[in-house]
Every structure is written in C-alpha cells, then in structure tokens.
Amino acid sequence: GAGVSQSPSNKVTEKGKDVELRCDPISGHTALYWYRQRLGQGLEFLIYFQGNSAPDKSGLPSDRFSAERTGESVSTLTIQRTQQEDSAVYLCASLRRAAADTQYFGPGTRLTVL
C-alpha cells in the first residue's frame, strides 16, 4: 500500500476485555515497530519485528501484551485483560530494510479503557 495503515482508528473497551490492534506496513518493508504514547508523554518502544521474528520484545510492559507478524506483512498487537493504564495511542512504523533509518508511522489506534 501507499503508507502504513492501522485499524481500528479508535477503540473503547471495558477493563478486563481483550483487544487486538492491527498494523499493515508499507509493502516490501521488512522491519516493523510498535510504539505506545500515553497522554502527554513521549513515544515508548514496545516491540520490533524483522520479517516474522521479534528480536526485541523488551518494551512490552507485561505478559498481558503480545504481538505477532505474518511473514513481512500484517502485525497484530494483542492486549489481554486490559487495564485503565493501557489507555494510549498505539503507533506502528515500518522500515524498508534494517539499514535504513527513516521509519514511516501509521495513523495510530487510540485505545481507551473504561
């Protein structure tokens, strides 16, 4: 596609429910990153995929968070048993190849946990 896309754009859920956030990277981009931005704060790294493997998961805040990627395509970030502190904008970015630096961001998913 022309750019990184994410869905849904907004998600409101109740505490304790599971949510799935989707990211479609730019076609041909091998590297994919998930970040989180809580209100009034900077972007925090969550997880990095190279192809469908995840060399760095160090930013996932707890075992309620998981992510997977199919080949060099779609990635899904799953949050189980959501908590109010999970409320944030979740951003996905992709890179054409690991040696490039300019990450292109998707529009983000705003998650609100009531």
Partner: protein, 114 residues
C-alpha cells in the same frame, strides 16, 4: 541505554516569530538523528541528519547536527498557526537485536497564536 532530551518542553509564540527547538542525545553507536512533527496521532517525518554541520532545509524549516557536542536544532522561521504541533527528536539504535528501534525525546509542544 540511549537517551534523548528535548528542550524546551513547550513554547508559545505568535505568527511570524522564529523558533529554535533543541535536542541533545547520548547513544552508544550513533548513525543518524530524526525529526518528526506530530499533529494528531501519527508522527510525520521531517528530517534525517547524519553529517555534522550540514543544514537540511525544507521551506521555513531547517535543521543541523553537531556530532561533537551531541545535539541538533530545528529552526522554524516566520511561524504560522499550522506549525502548532509536537516536534519529536529520535535516534535509532545502530546495532544488535534492537536495530532501528527509535529512542524518542519527550517532544516540544509548539503553539503558534495568530
């Protein structure tokens, strides 16, 4: 651990003013520094800087890197209300399992009044 610090955290100016945003960094293996503009959710790419002393310019925006003193500045001349946004500085991890992962500064919130 890589570290990026931006200043000021917020700035309020009037249309026509010139602003200078600062970014200092400490990274293990420096390769580049990136500037992004964030208006709603998704950061949009502005500049990538790799060489010291070479100014990158795009319209009223310009940026320069000082690799000796470990900082970069982003200048905006003749500011307009449409420049109101959060400006983010980031450095990518240059090696190991976290290749490409961006470490962001806190951002500078710029507000331009008519």
């Amino acid at each position: 651990e890589d570290k990026v610090v931006q200043s000021p955290l917020s700035l309020v100016v009037h249309e026509g003013d010139t602003v200078t945003l600062n970014c200092s960094y400490e990274v293990t293996n420096f390769r580049s520094l990136l500037w992004y503009k964030q208006e709603k959710k998704a950061p949009t790419f502005l500049f990538m800087l790799t060489s010291s002393g070479i100014e990158k310019k795009s319209g009223r925006l310009s940026s320069i890197l000082d690799k000796k003193e470990l900082f970069s500045i982003l200048n905006i001349t003749a500011t307009q209300t449409g420049d109101s946004a959060i400006y983010l500085c980031a450095v990518p991890n240059a090696g190991g399992t976290s290749y490409g992962k961006l470490t962001f500064g806190q951002g500078t919130i710029l507000t331009v009044h008519p």
